[in-house]
Assembly symmetry: C2
Homo-oligomer: 531 residues x 2
């Protein structure tokens, strides 16, 4: 074993304190070398897990009653604590994930920015959804009562760390940030591929909880096997919603568990997407080598392990398309493999590529070279035609990693048919010029039904964290298309409305009191009314 972070304890953080797990232990592995990393992590049993969920339930009422300024400052403190431990976090994450320093430094910044974005949302307060229908005592035939509505948090949320975002979609990532911002305590199940990164970030959160004198149950971090402790967490009666990013099989397993509970709960699982890209004729008139290079950059960034990597590209038949595919072949050949997250993910990628390459009518467009580290296979682009694509569902499946499939199509009708056959997607992308607008207009209604985000003349990787972003989409892209896991709208996943009828002003929540002490924008009799 090589030691990268001797300060790590290897224990869960439950209700504010380190807890040595009574289950087995696990160690992280550096995927660039296949060597184990100290320390060993102790896994909790279900009784220890229960202590975390009970603490979260105990913390709920006081946490959701926080004033917005304290609540926002708490989120900002987490960001500061992460930044203060920033170098150690990035170093450990590099060792545990094989991702390069620049990517992880950027991801650390994004993680802090997400927390600050939600702090701003909490201060601004529109997510409280304040609505007032004033009493109409003179109305006939019946008077109207005074009715007021606001959003309250759902309750404790179970969040699962994602393998491919050890910071931005793990311990203090988007799901945790939006749940905490909504006022929900979080029980976080760490991903066993980056336990040390999780511990370092978990401490940053626990320290912020202590600094603000919050109930320690507001945040717990547990280590355990997904198939037992992860399932038990989703089944726990104290848990009221679930945030997950990962594989389709793991996500649908959590969905089934949540639906089978005596009290079913919402699951927000971001799972599987091949992010189809559609080239129209006009888009192939420019610098095809530059276009192909940009395509391969999107395919191979983070070793292809991004939820929005373009796994499927539709290119028109004909000379321009032939030239573009040739350019793609050259661009792919110039790529070098980068370390993948785990041996298991690398193995799944290789099996997936082999299965796809072995299908009738599929050939190799271009293949790069293996990287110098372990688990760094050569990126590959395969090719087929639309008729083959339409008849073989294997070609519609996600391969997580640096692989993509180019599909040649004959005409607009065939393209539309292929689009209609697609499953739900996180993104879909159009490459077009003014001359292609009518063709694109015909396809857009199909794409709206299939995806959460539609791009033009770009590549889908690189998900902006803002107010208008949607990182979501119809099943199996996610378990719940009504929402997003990136961006400020994500807070709404963890809220539900409560109405108050004729309550005395002194008993109303501050959000709804007549004097509007929180200075909220409110909807009065249906009309938006600024504070």
């Amino acid at each position: 074993m090589t030691s990268t972070a001797t300060a790590l304890a290897g224990h869960s953080l439950i209700n504010g304190a380190p807890v040595e797990g009574r289950g087995e232990t696990t160690v992280a592995v550096d995927p660039a070398t296949n060597e184990s990393l100290e320390p060993a992590y102790t896994l909790v049993d279900t009784e220890q897990l229960g202590a975390a969920t009970r603490a979260a339930a105990d913390a709920f009422d006081s946490f959701r009653a926080l004033d917005p300024e304290t609540h926002a400052a708490f989120l900002e403190r987490i960001a500061e604590n992460i930044e203060a431990a920033g170098e150690e976090i990035v170093a450990r994450a590099m060792a545990e994930t094989g991702l390069p320093e620049a990517r992880l430094t950027g991801e650390r910044g994004r993680t802090a920015n997400q927390l600050r974005l939600f702090a701003a949302v909490v201060r601004q307060g529109d997510h409280r959804g304040a609505r007032i229908d004033p009493a109409l005592p003179e109305r006939t035939p019946l008077p109207r009562a005074d009715i007021r509505q606001r959003m309250i948090p759902l309750g404790p949320v179970a969040v699962f760390g994602a393998s491919n975002f050890p910071l931005a979609f793990s311990t203090a990532g988007g799901d945790t940030a939006s749940a905490l911002a909504a006022g929900c305590p979080v029980v976080f199940k760490a991903h066993n591929a980056h336990p040390g990164t999780s511990e370092l970030v978990g401490r940053a959160i626990v320290d912020a909880v202590r600094d603000f004198d919050l109930h320690p149950g507001v945040f717990s971090l547990v280590y355990g096997p997904g198939s037992t402790i992860g399932q038990a967490l989703v089944a726990d009666p104290a848990i009221k919603a679930v945030g997950f990013t990962g594989s389709r099989s793991a996500g649908t397993a959590l969905m089934r568990t949540a639906a089978a509970r005596p009290e079913p709960i919402p699951v927000y699982a971001e799972m599987s997407s091949i992010n189809p890209v559609f080239f129209f004729d006009g888009a192939l008139q420019g610098d095809l080598d530059a276009l192909a290079t940009a395509y391969l950059r999107s395919v191979t960034g983070s070793s292809g392990q991004l939820c929005t990597a373009p796994g499927l590209v539709f290119v028109p038949a004909g000379d321009a398309g032939d030239a573009f595919v040739a350019a793609v072949g050259r661009a792919a050949a110039a790529c070098t493999g980068q370390t993948m997250l785990t041996r298991g993910i690398c193995g799944s990628w290789q099996s997936g590529v082999e299965a796809l390459a072995g299908q009738d009518g599929v050939d190799v467009v271009g293949r790069g070279t293996d990287g110098a580290t372990r688990n760094a296979p050569a990126p590959v682009v395969l090719g087929t035609d639309a008729a083959t694509f339409l008849t073989n569902p294997v070609l519609h499946e996600e391969i997580f990693g640096a692989a993509s499939l180019v599909v040649r199509y004959d005409d607009a009708e065939q393209l539309r048919e292929a689009a209609e056959r697609l499953e739900g997607q996180l993104t879909t992308t159009l490459h077009l010029t003014d001359a292609d607008r009518e063709a694109a207009r015909g396809l857009l209604p199909v794409l709206e039904r299939k995806a959460g985000r539609i791009l033009a003349n770009g590549w889908p990787t690189g998900v902006e964290v803002g107010h208008a972003m949607v990182h979501g989409g119809p099943f199996p892209a996610t378990s719940d298309s009504r929402t997003t896991s990136v961006g400020s709208l994500a807070i709404e996943r963890f809220l539900r409305p409560v109405a108050y009828q004729n309550l005395p002003d002194a008993l109303l929540p501050a959000d709804l009191q007549e004097a509007n002490p929180r200075r909220l924008n409110r909807r009065i009799d249906g009309s938006p009314t600024p504070a």
Copy 2:
């Protein structure tokens, strides 16, 4: 058989035309007489059902592309058509449900008002959720793309008619109105207890579809057995969401079917609630007979068959409480049974009351007299103490009909414990004066976790249709606490966000075009920006 409406055809309305079902037939029964009503209704088979769902899918893209003014006028035309057939509708509904004319006339008005409320929502446009994060080409280290977000409808929605609201939560009721307002075609499964009412209202919708030259698949009405055709409708791949009001067993059966689909879909089921009422000491200082009479009016209105009827009332131990319970006994004795909706519902009510009355520690507080019609059992109020309530889960179950349970409690701690033990509720009610405020304040956080609406000094029946209403709540009150089935917020159940990144203005939906042709309020860089 007695004929009440010879104009009725007895057939489903699929894709704009009457369709004679190839399954068995059913007839409505007048519950006041137990006599059958003409005509017989033919039930569809699954192939005929498939024609309705395919037509809905075919209609989706054109329906959701309607301009808001036409869309709103279409909803208003449905309301006008219902009013034009108003007398016939009320007469048939009286015969099919046993509900009195005044109630049904009021419900017809409410149904039209709901449609007009959603027409106003469609014209106003805030539900489109338009958000714009403008491009920041100069941002470092990376420029920001132009990202715009709006809500689009989910797709065809299956709506199930409710037995207890033959108009306001049936064919053109709240679920249908909010789904159509969202831009979702509707396949409506009629309740077999009021098929004629459903046909009359269904025609009003089909006529409006034809008047506006919409795709006839925008609305279909099918008759069939819930256990087969209802289940097949929820399982149909063309259906993307479900609206249901009914029993816990039927609702959870639909939830299971929706969760087991290859593509799971959201189910909005409003199911089961006992609507607990909490009396504090101060509230028992006034006119106890008037209070008891108001209580019994809420228990017995519509023969107790309202989702928000107060089935459970907590009253403090002691002299004032004794006096109130005595007044309740007198008020109950003065009540006369009214016709229930069906023989089956009446039978279930009687079994439920017998089971509850037979529990240890439960006695009769007061019982009215049977009504003159069939299926009009005497209303009853039972009583117990909180210790018994806490230990016997049978006392926590809904009895649908005119029955209620008074629970005597000793102190605030016992009251809080009882509240914590309750399942999710549509409503909960406090009766209090200024002197009781601190006691109520201690209970409020519990009640917020348990219910969708909290009332003070009133009774929960009579659900206002407005912008601030919440008719929802944690399971089992509903299948999805994140929403409401009554009021303008209900439209959000059938929407999902889509983001557009760097799309040319000409390809953007009008909601998001730079010139804001729809004059929508939009959120720009996170700030609400009026049109």
